[in-house]
């Protein structure tokens, strides 16, 4: 089976890859490009551990084919920190113990960033519904929601 040549941008860097038509973006990221920060928890779009941002839109990497990434701008957890500076969400997740085992954390961070990028002032209910596609089995979500709300307030403060 011939492979598809794909030209894309990942975390700001131009990237080319060859993929099978059946491969998902998640497969490509993890198995071909060595970007294992995005996790596969279910492979069916139910858990959100593979959350990535494609052209500004939050998607499950396991539900998008590699071939569909042609010409797209992809952001993954690996691109979230700026150099050695953690993104405020990353920083507050650590400070507020918003992770226990950490497997869902990349997905939650990417999804939370996608939320705050479009809604800098979400209510608790909005945060909870936005993140309802990301499963966490350890924390009961409490500290995650608090961290996201906290960062939203912090970012609003800096933006003023």
């Amino acid at each position: 089976m011939s492979k598809t040549h794909v030209t894309t941008t990942i975390n700001g860097e131009p990237v080319e890859f060859l993929c099978d038509t059946s491969q998902t973006v998640l497969d490509v990221l993890r198995d071909q490009l060595g970007l294992t920060g995005s996790k596969e928890g279910c492979g069916s779009g139910d858990c959100g551990a593979c959350s990535i941002i494609v052209d500004g839109r939050l998607v499950c990497g396991c539900l998008m084919l590699g071939a569909e990434a042609e010409g797209c701008r992809i952001e993954t957890i690996e691109g979230m920190a700026a150099g050695d500076h953690l993104h405020p969400l990353q920083k507050r997740f650590v400070e507020m113990a918003a992770l226990q085992c950490g497997i869902c954390t990349p997905g939650f961070l990417v999804a939370s960033k996608a939320l705050l990028d479009r809604n800098p002032n979400p209510t608790e209910t909005e945060v909870r519904y936005w993140l309802a596609g990301n499963l966490c089995r350890c924390t009961g979500y409490d500290k995650i929601i608090r961290a996201v709300m906290d960062v939203a307030a912090e970012l609003r403060e800096t933006a003023r």
């Binding site: 099978d20 059946s22 993890r30 970007l35 294992t36 920060g37 995005s38 996790k39 596969e40 928890g41 279910c42 492979g43 069916s44 139910d46 858990c47 551990a49 993954t76 957890i77 690996e78 979230m80 920190a81 953690l86 990353q90 920083k91 997740f93 650590v94 400070e95 507020m96 113990a97 992770l99 226990q100 085992c101 950490g102 497997i103 869902c104 954390t105 990349p106 961070l109 209910t125 945060v127 909870r128 519904y129 993140l131 309802a132 596609g133 990301n134 499963l135 966490c136 089995r137 350890c138 924390t139 009961g140 979500y141 409490d142 500290k143 995650i144 929601i145 608090r146």
Partner: protein, 759 residues
């Protein structure tokens, strides 16, 4: 124990692995790779119960890209002996049959064969080429059906243990256990009020977000390396050693970061298969389960039947209690029926108690430990019955529990007499909590329930190495499943009197540190913490010797305070204190490297008690239950890192809410699991829940230098009954069967409507 002031204990520093885990750098099970690795996949049974007449792997072996195929023939037969694994006992003869079916398949998803191939696509194609001839047998799924005479028998050799005279007929009841205290018949004669009910639960899965994954590389000289996601890499080594007849020293297991376990990653599924495939192919083999495989072939916990009878006098004193617990173990014996029986009435000081338990096999995946294994099932029944008793007596549910609470000196029905415990303090804290002190909102109803877990000690090893600049590496052997690196480093920093940042905790592979029992039983901060403290004490002892050498005094004349060696008194002489970094820099001249080691079998794990309070509303048309407010109160001994203690309480509570309201394994008439995915097996999501309030109660455990009790398991015990008790108050209906999912709740309300209308 008097209240002590600490520099680090009780603070909330950043966890040492935090940055790695928020950047995607941390490597979990599926993130390990080796050059030239093959992909391993498992062929699984489509039947609930069938004889394997033949397996033909020849076509698969001939497929280009296939490098090895294994079936049960590739694994040596095992003795019928029982060894500890996780918090449960397992039989090796059964374990080898669970990782690869032999004579029979015993559940939908049971492994039958496995292949290693150059790509996943080839491996999947090869699985389709394996021909298995089955003779389908009648199956049995439910625990009570499996106990009946004439039920399909899973194991012809199985006879009920614990029954006299020893039965001669094959059965699905593997074991009967009995616990008694006092004379329960006499106790019930004193009762003025008796509540008697039969409760059931369905199997629920641990639901860790990370599927099982393992990478094995077997060398030609017999050495084996394994990377896997596990709660116990020493248990992986032990199982693989026994199942494959490889000496333990030849196997080196490196634990990955672990993406949740909750007990479900204390056993092996993939590791021995990956090793065998690697041995046969001569290449490293990586295996990762799909989510469907996780549901069909790993975990879950038992389904159960709990018959409870509780008798009390009118003034609210419980005089007698009786309970029968039958737990389904899955395809092989070994449900957590023991702890289920022991935890049942452990919260209460009752003179006359009788508890009987049955361990029952049926055609479901072999159960694995799940957070306080067994306790949530029996306590669902007991705590619901206690609530009914409170209603019957017109008593406040916390007052009723306070009146009967176990305390120091209470003799349990399973044997031990409690040392210092904090159940009364926990109930008092619940009573005075902001939640309980606030009236229930209009349209909502409140439920309360309690829970107990023993907590576990067991084997731990640890080392502390002082670097040449005076920073310290603390080495232990328990995978960090929820922040234990932080708590271990904090205890080491406290003991040494140095900054937390000067201590770097590391989790070593099986060849780099002594034996450690699993991360489970809420034991790591307690038992491995104790080992770390002892290893650091040894470092301190050595540091004092070095200072004494420099000052030319006796080591006894030196004390260690705030990270420095000081003369014990002015009599010793006038010496400037020596810091850890100064002593480390001079180590070469004073006797060489400064390290400490400790190994122990930790005794005296302090039992933990929790009380949960929930306010909820029931939609009488849809049966949907909405939780408005939830509070978890728990005696944790001492909270080393309160954020992670709260996290355990919140996470356990929410798993319990899922167990109460949604989660269940659904089998069709053919015994196939109908909901092996997160869409149909619905665990709680963020929008289902409110914030989970926590109240930390600290009654220090006298058996730990910092008073630690285990924390992680207690919080999954009370939620089911707390939710059920609130629903009972909201609807007037006592729910007896879990989950209290919308269809069941609305059906029960509909059924009760004519009756209510008639009244």
């Amino acid at each position: 124990m008097s209240a002590r002031t600490y520099k680090w204990i009780g603070t909330r520093p950043n966890r040492p692995d935090g940055a790695d885990k928020v950047t995607g750098r941390a490597r979990f099970g599926a993130d390990f790779n080796m050059p030239g690795q093959l992909v391993g996949k498992v062929l699984r049974s489509p039947h609930a119960h069938a004889l394997i007449k033949s397996i033909d792997t020849s076509a698969a072996e001939k497929l280009a890209g296939v490098k090895a195929v294994v079936t049960a023939k590739d694994f040596p037969e095992q003795e019928n002996i029982t060894v500890p694994a996780g918090e449960m006992q397992v039989n090796l003869r059964d374990v080898t049959r669970n990782i690869m079916a032999r004579e029979k398949v015993l559940y939908d998803g049971h492994a039958v064969a496995a292949v290693a191939a150059t790509t996943e696509a080839v491996a999947k194609e090869a699985l389709a080429l394996i021909k298995v001839e089955y003779e389908i047998l009648p199956h049995v799924i439910d625990v009570e059906a499996a106990m009946k005479d004439g039920a399909p028998i899973l194991h012809d050799h199985l006879r009920t243990e614990g029954v006299e005279p020893k039965p001669t007929k094959a059965t699905n009841i593997a074991k009967r256990i009995d616990f008694a205290k006092g004379d329960v018949a006499a106790g019930f004669r004193k009762a003025e009020v008796v509540v008697e009910r039969k409760f059931t639960t369905q199997p629920v899965h641990q639901g860790y977000i990370e599927p099982h994954a393992a990478l094995a590389s077997a060398s030609e000289d017999g050495q084996v390396q394994v990377w896997s996601t596990t709660q116990g890499h020493f248990q992986v080594r032990g199982f693989c050693s026994r199942l494959l007849n490889i000496e333990t020293s030849q196997i080196r297991v490196t634990p990955s970061e672990i993406g949740g376990g909750f007990g479900g990653k204390t056993v092996v599924y993939l590791e021995p298969v990956a090793i065998r495939l690697s041995q046969k192919s001569g290449k490293p083999v990586k295996m990762v389960m799909t989510r469907e495989e996780v549901f069909r072939a790993s975990g879950p916990t038992s389904a159960g039947v709990v018959e409870v009878k509780i008798g009390a006098t009118r003034d609210g004193r419980i005089v007698a209690a009786e309970c029968m617990v039958a737990l389904q173990a899955g395809a092989f014996p070994g449900s957590p029926v023991g702890p289920a029986c022991m935890c049942s009435f452990a919260c209460y000081d009752i003179d006359d108690i009788k508890v009987v338990g049955y361990d029952v096999v049926s055609n479901r995946p072999k159960v694995a430990a799940y957070r306080a294994p067994g306790a949530p099932i029996s306590c669902w029944g007991v705590e619901s019955a206690i609530d009914e008793l409170a209603i019957e007596l017109g008593m406040d549910p916390i007052e009723l529990r306070l009146k009967n609470a176990a305390k120091q000196g209470t003799k349990t029905h399973y044997g031990p007499t409690f040392n210092r415990i904090g159940f009364v303090e926990t109930l008092e804290a619940a009573k005075s909590s902001p939640h309980y002190q606030t009236p229930v909102k209009r349209g909502f109803h409140r439920g309360v329930a309690a829970g107990f877990w023993f907590n576990v000690g067991a084997d731990s090893s640890a080392a502390a190495h002082v670097g040449e600049d005076g920073t310290v590496t603390v080495i232990s052997g328990n995978p960090d499943i929820g922040g234990s690196r932080a708590s271990l480093a904090m205890m080491a920093a406290e003991e040494l009197g140095v900054d937390y940042e000067k201590v770097r905790p590391v989790i070593a592979d099986t060849s780099s540190i002594g034996f450690n029992f699993v991360t489970g039983g809420s034991r790591v901060t307690f038992a491995t913490g104790l080992a770390v403290v002892n290893a650091v004490k040894e470092v301190v002892r050595e540091l004092k010797i070095r200072a004494a050498k420099i000052w030319e005094v006796e080591p006894e004349a030196v004390v260690w305070e705030n990270g420095m060696a000081k003369p014990a008194s002015t009599n010793v002489g006038e010496f400037e204190p020596l810091s850890l970094s100064q002593l480390a820099a001079m180590a070469g001249k004073t006797g060489g490297p400064i390290n400490g080691h400790a190994q122990l079998n930790a005794q005296g794990a302090g039992p933990g008690f929790g009380v949960h309070i929930v306010d909820l509303a029931v939609d009488h048309d849809t049966g949907i239950v909405t939780i408005d407010r939830y509070t978890a109160v728990q005696d944790v001994g001492t909270a080393i890192h309160p954020s992670y203690v709260e996290g355990q309480m919140q996470g356990g509570a929410v798993q319990g809410i899922g167990w109460a309201l949604n989660e269940e394994y659904i089998y069709n008439a053919k015994g196939k699991l109908d909901n092996p995915g997160f869409l149909d097996y619905r665990i709680p999501v963020a929008s289902d829940l409110p914030m989970i309030e926590t109240v930390i109660v600290e009654v220090p455990n006298p058996s730990h230098p910092y008073g630690v009790r285990g924390v992680g398991e207690v919080p999954i015990v009370p939620p089911m009954a707390a939710v059920g008790n609130a629903i009972a108050r909201a609807t007037g209906i006592r729910f007896l069967d879990l989950p209290m999912s919308p269809p069941r709740v609305s059906a029960a309300i509909d059924a009760a409507r004519p009756k209510m209308a008639a009244e």
